[in-house]
């Protein structure tokens, strides 16, 4: 119910906010669909939080803006996905973002890896965006109308994110000896976390047709990686995969620090607003 007093002041709390989902019916998801949306939402949220740290610290102002915009897109995906996940048990997107502890997060280890130098962030972006392009392209045909609608929107955006990362991989690898060395090292540093993205598990098995089967995205990912790294004259890293277990709530050492910074204000001052 929206209300407006004589001076036509409208407060946001009084607005009846829509479920903010697909055009069709916005039924609450099942426990499994909510768990799946939580995974995707957590990946987007943590990556967004990480990229936000570059604003005012990027190598040039255009990159401040670029990484800030990419973070904003990812935050948009996270909000839609977490809102949908939370509609299963009545939690809001803020409940899920600010009031869950580390073990309740389902993000993958890739997005938890530190920003490092610029090349490290670009290597992480290259892997994450290439994965997300494959993921959302398939999720558009999900039998779940809400996931399909979120994916349709996200698919176009992550395509831009991948272009951005590809351009920087090419530029850094083809730049000076130093930039090339840093790019190569950064790719090697993030590559142990690639495998986790493509692992299937029982949840995925139960959501056949609704969730995207991660293992089926690997070929598309590998094709893009070999094309881009081939163009850059860089070998595809050959490293042992990490035993990452983010989908079970077992996280890398980095997540607790990220959450501490992201959640401190909301937890110290519950209900704070401006």
């Amino acid at each position: 119910m929206s209300t407006a007093d004589a001076a036509a002041h409208v407060t946001v709390e009084s607005l009846r906010l829509s479920a903010e989902l697909a055009g069709s019916d916005s039924r609450a998801p099942s426990a499994d669909v909510a768990a799946y949306a939580l995974r995707l939402g957590d990946d987007a949220l943590i990556l967004s939080q990480q990229l936000g740290a570059w604003i005012s610290r990027a190598p040039e102002i255009e990159e401040d803006v670029a990484l800030g915009n990419i973070a904003l897109d990812l935050l948009g995906h996270a909000r839609a996905l977490l809102r949908y996940a939370g509609s299963w048990d009545g939690r809001t997107e803020d409940d899920l973002a600010y009031f869950r502890d580390e073990a309740e997060f389902r993000s993958c280890w890739l997005v938890e890896q530190p920003n490092g130098g610029f090349a490290q962030t670009i290597a992480r972006q290259f892997v994450a965006a290439t994965f997300m392009v494959e993921l959302y392209a398939r999720l558009r045909t999900s039998t779940d109308a809400t996931l399909a609608a979120i994916a349709e929107k996200a698919a176009k955006e992550v395509d831009y994110h991948r272009d951005h990362a590809v351009q920087w991989v090419l530029r850094l690898a083809g730049g000076t000896a130093k930039s090339r060395r840093r790019m190569l090292r950064a790719l090697n540093d993030v590559w142990p976390y690639v495998d986790e993205l493509f692992r299937d598990d029982a949840l995925i098995d139960r959501l056949d047709g609704t969730a995207v089967r991660p293992s089926e995205l690997r070929d598309g990912f590998d094709t893009v990686v070999s094309t881009v790294l081939g163009e850059a004259g860089v070998p595809v890293p050959d490293v042992h995969p990490s035993a990452a277990g983010g989908r079970n709530g077992e996280h890398s050492v980095w997540l607790s620090g990220i959450l501490a910074e992201m959640q401190v204000l909301a937890r110290r001052h519950p209900g704070a607003r401006w």
Binding site: M1, S2, A4, A8, V10, V12, L15, R16, S18, A19, E20, L21, A22, G23, S24, E62, E63, V65, A66, G68, N69, I70, L72, D73, L74, L75, G76, H77, R79, A80, A145, A148, A149, I150, E152, K153, A154, K156, E157, D159, Y160, R162, D163, H164, V166, Q167, V224, T227, V228, E231
Partner: protein, 178 residues
Amino acid sequence: MTAPAAIGRRTAPGEPCSEPRADRARKVAARIVDPEIPVLTIDDLGILRTVEVDGDCVRVDITPTYSGCPAIDAIRDDLVLALTAAGYAEVDVRLVLSPAWSTDWISEKGRRALTAYGIAPPTGRRAASGPIPLRLSVRCPRCGSLDTRELSRFGSTACKALYSCGACQEPFDHFKAF
């Protein structure tokens, strides 16, 4: 605002809305501008979907340009204010994601307004999508030259890229084809 419909007969809840009432509500909604690009109404931008009236309740469906676009909250508030002022007791603004907005939905009037405002409108579809995309030239909104180059894919808002003109040397925003 003169609003004969608002002081006229009240439709009973559940009764289907009459066409003129929906038209009137749509006219009110269509006047709201994008706070980031104030020369563009949400109708010209193509993010105003449906406007339905039921009694003195109105439901407006809008769609975001980009998932994280912060302007959408301001637009939602503006719609509630304008429609409340126009006499609707209840205003329900819904954000719909599907079908996803595309720059193809910007009207011709909107494109002309963008150019006049100094923002190069989207230039057709991207020539290729793949790992290494090709793009069409963008015309400088100030001098009309095609001798322009992209400074950054990401501009002052999510929907714009930053360009520079080789002929008049001016930087300008380009509304990305999306």
